[in-house]
């Protein structure tokens, strides 16, 4: 009787604690995911072929990660980004084999094997009719078996019911586990990433802020002050001030950024844009041209700024059209920006033909 009370007490306490756990999980919600990293974990590095581009340090992997980040910012879906790389490197580049086509078997076979295995095991654990006395096997001491457990003959019905209950409970637990754990692991990537190796739980503090809209100016100022060497954040902050019309502060930050990285094309181009707002188009053009002369591919913004400076600042529609043509030829042009380019080009052409008409 005391044992019964203890049983009940322990069972209730355990269930209560598990309920606390479940409640905590439901309230807490899933941890944040890093979409770029998840996609990178699914792409194979062409140079260090045994790891994904998330883990590889080769230049190609870095370039691929940048391409992934750019496409995420451009709003492409996961499938589109994966297809982008598949079109160029083939199915080889996917280390997460898709569950269709040639790699379907690799997902199906384990499930089939598991089912077959369990079926066989269950089938073979029925009681056999053969005598226990074994001919070819060493006579395992019958003594051992008896010492292990007393014969459960009395109360056979009760033990049978208990056994059924145990099986039912196990089946229920298995169903719950399958319903919760299995979809999480076999379905979408679980919130938290992978089992082995390096993972993202929460994005670590780094120079790039993923969700700029959520951060206030003051916070960004504090972050920039704390990481003075991180130019990208500083430029983001300067852009904000520029958009707000706070040219003083913007100018301060651009100067600081250019002091730290004199050759940064983004800083140069945006500084040029600032100068245009301040009504100094000639200097603005100088800075933007510096950005365009950089050995790496110039940022799209630089061309846009050049066009605007040429058209609005210097009244040179031909130069503006030239810059807009170069923008049109770029392949990282999103539809909205393309529309703006077209509008500005129309305006430039109008201006171009305008003075001639007047003459």
């Amino acid at each position: 009787m005391r044992s019964r009370a203890v049983d009940l007490g322990v069972a209730v306490a355990a269930l209560a604690l598990l309920a606390v756990t479940a409640l905590g999980l439901l309230i807490g919600g899933p941890a944040g995911t890093d979409r770029a990293d998840e996609l990178a974990q699914r792409l194979r590095c062409p140079v260090c072929t045994s790891v994904s581009i998330a883990e590889s340090q080769s230049d190609t992997a870095v370039a691929m990660r940048q391409a992934v980040a750019e496409q995420i910012d451009a709003g492409r879906s996961d499938a589109e980004i994966i297809d982008y790389f598949r079109a160029r490197y083939g199915d080889w580049v996917l280390i997460d084999p898709p569950a269709r086509g040639r790699t379907m078997l690799v997902w199906v076979l384990p499930a089939v094997a598991a089912l077959v295995g369990f079926a066989v095991v269950l089938a073979r654990t029925r009681r056999t009719a053969l005598p226990v006395a074994e001919l070819a096997v060493d006579p395992a001491p019958a003594v051992l078996e008896q010492v292990d457990q007393p014969a459960p003959d009395p109360g056979h019905d009760r033990s049978r019911r208990a056994r059924v209950a145990a099986y039912a409970l196990t089946a229920l637990a298995a169903l719950v586990a399958a319903g919760v754990l299995l979809p999480r692991s076999v379905g979408e990537r679980p919130a938290g990433g992978f089992v082995t190796g390096n993972e993202i739980g929460r994005p670590g503090p780094g120079p790039l802020i993923r969700d700029p809209a959520a951060v206030s100016d003051a916070e960004l100022e504090a972050a920039v002050a704390a990481n003075p060497g991180v130019v990208g954040m500083r430029l983001a902050l300067a852009e904000r001030y520029l958009a707000q019309g706070d040219y003083d502060r913007a100018g301060q930050h651009y100067s600081e950024a250019l002091r730290r990285e004199p050759g940064n094309p983004e800083a140069q181009a945006h500084f040029g844009w600032l100068l245009l707002q301040l009504g100094r188009p000639v200097e603005a053009l100088e800075w933007v041209d510096r950005a365009l002369a950089a050995p790496e591919r110039p940022p799209l913004d630089a061309l846009w700024f050049r066009a605007n400076i040429a058209l609005h600042g210097l009244d040179d529609p031909a130069a503006a059209l030239d810059a807009l043509e170069r923008m049109r030829d770029r392949d990282d042009l999103s539809p909205t920006v393309a529309q703006q380019v077209d509008e500005l080009a129309a305006l430039a052409r109008q201006r171009q033909s305008g003075p001639e008409q007047r003459r």
């Binding site: 604690l17 096997v137 459960p152 076999v186 082995t196 739980g201």
Partner: protein
């Protein structure tokens, strides 16, 4: 003088080959007709084989130590500027040398088996020696033909390139390959005994009992080799992880999984006489998968960072694998009815049932890993298309299997034999389950939100609590001395429990360090600082240190907490003469609660790009691995019971209920 050493090595290899041929013939003949062969002949042959292997290895080491570049192997893998330690380990850094090590370990195990074969009337033993001789013929044959390290060059170079830079950077190269080989090769012994039993058409527990020591030794070393491999990968390679599901890593994991199933299943056969057919299949599969793994590693059929270059060894290993697979399983199929148990587990809710489920899960796990590893090869062979299977697949498959295994591990050892009633299980597990729920509730309240971590913590804590409870309940008294007597008295059971505890700890750390890790990639100018994991990280400067055979460039990364310098990490790049690629080494700051891992992505005097990781509880992963090995050693240290008919139960056996 320069040709005396290679000649000695060649002689040793040939001696080994001849002796193993003779051993194969004598052993198998002795099994058929014990009176046809004298025991002394067998003993001498075994010693000759061991002597040949030792001579070959010694010659190789001496050639390396004396910078004898006339030897092709030395010219390819050695350099004058290598230090003493790395010169010694160069013996197994290349293909030919690693095969010599394999043959040496095999000869050692054969000698150990021969010590237990006291007369030719022991037909099981002589047959096993014969089979061991056959396997040795293959490996000595490889050494003397396809992968000959004793080839002499007509124009020896003045200096060589030295071993691969990754194999010259860390002490681990002295331990990891030999441990792996001690593990792989060790499973040849139960394989040989199983083949001998099949040839004799004699089933029973005899072959299992005699190979118990070899099983445990091999399994312990293979576990150690895998754990050390993970540790080496983590500490040395700098990509921030310890397991990449690389084909070569998988090739080592697959036999380990099947061998673990075999070890558990062998216990059931010895105790209850069941699952005999399973045991034959498992031991055959372990050995065949070892050969397959060796083939995959050395044949460049799969692309891997570990790949050796192409050689003639590949087709030979493939042929040997086909022989083992086809011949071994055909023999089993033909003789199977004599060795199958006549009784089966009565229900799954018993210890036999739990081990059966465990067998199934581990075999399934091995199947999944094998499928993922060879699937690209199969697809390319049949359709010509190229696909890749990597971490995402293996992680997804491993996760449910690992949970199921943890569950089986938590419940199985406490399940009685024959049939378990729910009441009995509940009485044994109720307090541990309470402990597990308390642990998860605590974790949730502390802010952990990952389902995986909570589930693993629940299972691990329950399992640990159940073990502790079992110790306290089964000990004759409550004093530490009584507990010690209990644990020393039944070393196989308690060794197994210690190993289970190690596995539970490893599972917890994998879950925690995976789900709760933090990572950042930062570019710092010299003198610039940033924040990471609660510390201020500064790149102070970069220095160069020339070494005897390398140039080391490092970056001084300073960690400050509250303005005080708490740590200076120095991740580095080592450039070796004669090798094109520099080797990066990370810097790991280990404390009991977390590891902070700093790896260089790019380094110039004024700017550094770092990959920083913070892994909670990481150092406990290696502790857990050590516990698993300790459990194996503990189980080994028990006395082997001699097979003298029926035996009485040992004192202090686990009682039926408590």
């Amino acid at each position: 003088m320069t040709t005396a050493i290679p000649a000695a090595g060649w002689t040793g290899a040939l001696l080994g080959l001849a002796a193993s041929l003779v051993l194969a013939v004598l052993g198998l003949r002795a099994q058929r007709r014990p009176e046809a062969v004298r025991h002394r002949q067998l003993r001498v042959t075994v010693w000759l084989m061991l002597g040949g292997a030792v001579l070959a290895m010694l010659a190789l080491e001496v050639a390396l130590l004396t910078d004898n570049f006339a030897l092709a192997y030395v010219a390819q893998t050695h350099s004058r500027s290598s230090s003493l330690l790395f010169t010694l380990t160069t013996a197994w850094s290349g293909l030919g040398g690693s095969l010599v090590l394999w043959a040496l370990v095999l000869a050692g195990y054969t000698a150990a088996v021969a010590r237990g074969v006291t007369s030719t009337a022991d037909r099981l033993g002589t047959g096993a020696l014969g089979v061991l001789g056959l396997v040795a013929v293959f490996f000595f044959g490889l050494i003397t033909t396809a992968a000959n390290p004793f080839e002499i060059l007509a124009n020896p170079p003045a200096d060589g390139p030295g071993p691969n830079p990754l194999l010259r950077d860390h002490l681990m190269v002295a331990f990891h390959p030999p441990m792996l080989y001690l593990g792989y090769v060790g499973f040849t012994v139960p394989f040989a005994f199983a083949m001998s039993a099949l040839l004799l058409r004699r089933g029973g527990v005899e072959w299992l009992r005699r190979t118990r020591r070899a099983n445990l030794v091999a399994w312990t070393f293979l576990t150690g080799g895998l754990v050390l491999g993970g540790w080496w990968s983590y500490e040395v390679l700098g990509w921030g992880g310890y397991w990449a599901w690389d084909p070569v890593e998988n090739a080592a994991l697959i036999p380990w999984l099947v061998a673990t199933a075999f070890i558990h299943s062998a216990v059931i056969q010895v105790r209850r006489g069941m699952l005999q057919a399973w045991n034959f299949v498992l031991v055959l599969a372990t050995f065949a998968l070892t050969i397959l793994g060796t083939f995959l590693t050395r044949s460049s059929v799969v692309a891997s960072v570990h790949s050796f270059s192409q050689s003639a060894v590949g087709p030979a290993l493939l042929g040997f694998f086909m022989l083992v697979l086809g011949g071994g399983f055909a023999l089993f199929a033909l003789r199977g009815e004599r060795v199958a148990s006549l009784s089966r587990p009565e229900s799954l809710a018993s210890r036999e049932g739990a081990v059966l489920v465990n067998n199934l899960l581990l075999t399934l796990f091995a199947f999944v890993v094998l499928l993922g590893t060879v699937y690209p090869i199969l697809v390319e062979a049949f359709t010509g298309a190229q696909v890749s299977i990597g971490r995402p697949y293996f992680d997804r498959m491993a996760l449910p299997l690992a949970f199921a295994l943890l569950l089986a591990m938590g419940v199985g050892p406490f399940t009685p034999y024959r049939r378990a009633t729910a009441g009995l299980l509940w009485s044994r597990l109720r307090f541990p389950l309470l402990g597990g729920s308390a642990a998860t509730a605590t974790l949730v309240l502390a802010g952990v939100r990952s389902v995986g971590v909570l589930a693993v913590a629940f299972l691990a804590v329950s399992m640990a609590a159940a073990t502790v409870r079992q110790v306290l309940v089964s000990a004759p008294g409550r004093r530490p001395r009584d507990v010690l007597r209990l644990v020393c008295g039944q070393r196989d059971y308690w060794g197994g429990q210690l190993a289970h505890l190690g596995v539970a700890l490893v599972a917890v750390v994998i879950a925690v360090s995976g789900a709760l890790a933090t990572r950042a990639t930062l570019t710092l100018d010299r003198g610039a600082a940033t924040e990471f994991a609660g510390y201020t990280v500064t790149f102070e400067r970069s220095e160069q240190h020339p070494g005897p055979d390398r140039l080391i460039t490092d970056a001084h990364i300073v960690f400050r907490s509250g303005g005080q310098v708490v740590r200076v990490d120095e991740p580095r790049l080592s450039a070796f003469a004669g090798q094109p690629q520099a080797v990066g080494a990370p810097s790991v700051w280990t404390t009991p609660t977390r590891d902070i891992y700093v790896a260089l992505a790019d380094l110039s005097p004024q700017r550094v790009t770092l990959n920083l990781y913070r892994y909670p509880l990481m150092s406990w992963l290696w502790v857990g691995g050590g516990l698993v090995m300790a459990g194996g050693c503990w189980a080994l240290s028990g006395r082997t019971r001699r097979s003298e008919g029926a035996e009485l139960p040992a004192a202090g056996k686990v009682p039926a209920h408590a």
